[in-house]
Symmetry: C2
Subunit: 363 residues, 2 copies
């Protein structure tokens, strides 16, 4: 196996804010970031040592990119499998094709979780419109119809409250292979960010409690207001998932906390995750640095917090308020270098930190 050393070039597929923060973390460790994405002037390109602007199906450019870098990783899971397969023939690629395949397909993901004994919402496959009625019979209502692939931030989803909505739902999600998920009556949403090294070593951050607005993450608070036993179990679940996938890198596991503390895994993201941005300011080693360490075959850092933290996303025009936000002396402002503040677009985030215990006492 290639030993990755400082000075080498890390290839990152995707030019968004996650790629940008990965590139910044790589820089801190003396590594060079090489961004591959179709967009000119992407957030990640602004801080990278090298940039390839090309489509994800441009075979010649993919080959050139793979040959230029010491290894390849990615900042988003909706990357074509053919792209990563082609790259993996010429360069080490982490977290790897298997984990990506599982995370790209909600049905495979749920079946995988079930196979390793982890609870999910009840689900049924919906391959055609004709499957809808039977799925509703099995799962009950309310339920959510979700495309198997390419969904994020609530896109590709339809909430069914009535059996008469079957056709409407099928049309709304674009008549694509789907999964019908039973509604889970949860008390809170939490997530766990876990890193797994090539050696199998794990580093697991404390559980974050997440609040969404318009299906987009709004607020992450650490620690989550849950019992210690529940928090421990959430971390165990995340570690179990990472190990079962033979995962290398940072993985996020989103869960619902039900009354009584029962945990239901909602989805897994095979990458650094929005609900882990607080780690930049509240930990010595952030999720971004952990990912870089893991894929380089280096030992992981400690996932210990030095502070409690509350991270708030800046969505769309919220970032235009930067002049006020920068004046908050208890908070760190992070902006992603995006030009146009389109509605729903993640433009930045703000992290407040507090002495350890301050947030758990106050809740």
């Amino acid at each position: 196996m290639t030993v990755i050393a400082p000075g080498m070039e890390i290839g990152i597929l995707g030019g968004g804010q996650l790629g940008r923060m990965l590139a910044l973390a790589a820089a801190r460790l003396g590594l060079k970031a090489h961004i591959y994405c179709p967009e000119d002037e992407s957030p990640a390109a602004q801080v990278a040592h090298a940039v390839t602007v090309a489509d994800y199906d441009d075979r010649a450019m993919l080959d050139k990119f793979a040959d230029a870098v010491a290894l390849v990783t990615y900042e988003f899971e909706n990357i074509p499998l053919a792209t990563v397969k082609r790259l993996a023939r010429r360069a080490p690629l982490w977290p790897g094709i298997d984990a990506l395949g599982v995370a790209q397909d909600r049905l495979r993901e749920k079946r995988f979780l079930q196979s390793i004994g982890i609870e999910t919402a009840p689900f049924a496959a919906v391959d055609t419109q004709a499957d809808m009625a039977a799925a509703v019979d099995v799962i009950g209502l309310p339920a959510v119809l979700k495309t198997r692939t390419l969904g994020y931030d609530g896109k590709g989803q339809f909430m069914l409250r009535d059996g008469a909505q079957c056709d409407e739902a099928w049309l709304a999600i674009g008549q694509a292979p789907a999964i019908l998920e039973g509604f889970v009556g949860f008390e809170r949403e939490v997530s766990v960010i876990v890193a797994r090294a090539i050696s199998g070593e794990l580093a697991c951050y404390d559980v974050a409690e997440n609040e969404h607005r318009n299906h987009i993450l709004d607020l992450s608070t650490v620690p989550a207001a849950i019992e210690k036993a529940t928090a421990d179990q959430a971390q165990t679940i995340a570690k179990t998932v990472a190990t079962a996938l033979n995962y290398v890198g940072v993985l996020a596991v989103e869960m619902f906390v039900c009354p009584g503390g029962q945990l239901i895994v909602n989805e897994i993201a095979p990458r650094v995750h929005n609900s882990g941005h607080w780690t930049i300011d509240a930990c010595l080693v952030s999720q971004f640095e952990q990912h870089i360490r893991a894929i380089c075959g280096w030992p992981l850092g400690a996932a210990r917090r030095h502070s409690d933290a509350r991270m708030r996303n800046l969505i769309g025009e919220e970032a235009e308020d930067w002049a006020t936000l920068i004046g908050d002396r208890t908070a760190a402002l992070h902006l992603y270098g995006k030009g146009a503040a389109r509605p729903g677009r993640k433009m930045g985030h703000v992290t407040e930190i507090f002495p350890l215990g301050a947030l758990s006492t106050g809740r």
Copy 2:
């Protein structure tokens, strides 16, 4: 005055590790960094949005650079005054020419400090070889002969223990205009990093205690093992210097602590400083971010620590031990992306953090 907004380009003169860490801090705030330096493949260029590789006396390139950026700052004080003067005609330039002029010349620096009532070592100007004997008579021995300009990390200095060394000393420092400084019997070396905004607002970090090896900073520990009254006075001195210079940006003040707690200012650096690198890992807002905030006309962040800290420089081949260093789970490794590990070259640093109070209790 130009209002600097996220998305704009910050010009930085100098491509070393300080420019690199300034560029990374600018990126976090959504700003683009444009590095100007004569070297190809500089540490700062690896993480910058734009790079101009040209000499500091290349007038056409300086003008083009000044026109491309929203403002200019610098990462080192030994930049030709003619360069900054030329740039300042076309773009806002901070911390400013006056502070640079004072800091570039040890004699002006000492006289300035004296003029605002701050104690320095006894000193005498040595403009020619003929001045040496008289200077030694006034200052006494031991004493250190230092070039007035261009010295750093012990370069351009000669320690005199005997009056017979006058000629040797004069030759050793290159027969340049110099200053003879009386020897100060100090107990420890400390430094204070202070930021001053365009509004005059000040943010002052806690006092760091510094240990040198071969005239190069080896270790900075925060807090310094000094009385609270001494620490308060050290911060007052730093704030007094920044205000008297009408300074904008981050300034470092190095001091000797003498028996009884008397403070003697050794030198000032009109820039982010090696003894402030611990702020990256032990504060929400680092010295680099403070500098960017200050020169952009933004409010300063809090200079509060969330942790005690110990920063160790990696000099020359010490950085080749990165594979061991990365395994220390209590420490953050920072590498500067430099190729050749020449003796005495600053290649990176390691910061350990500890809960607040841990280091002061232990000493």
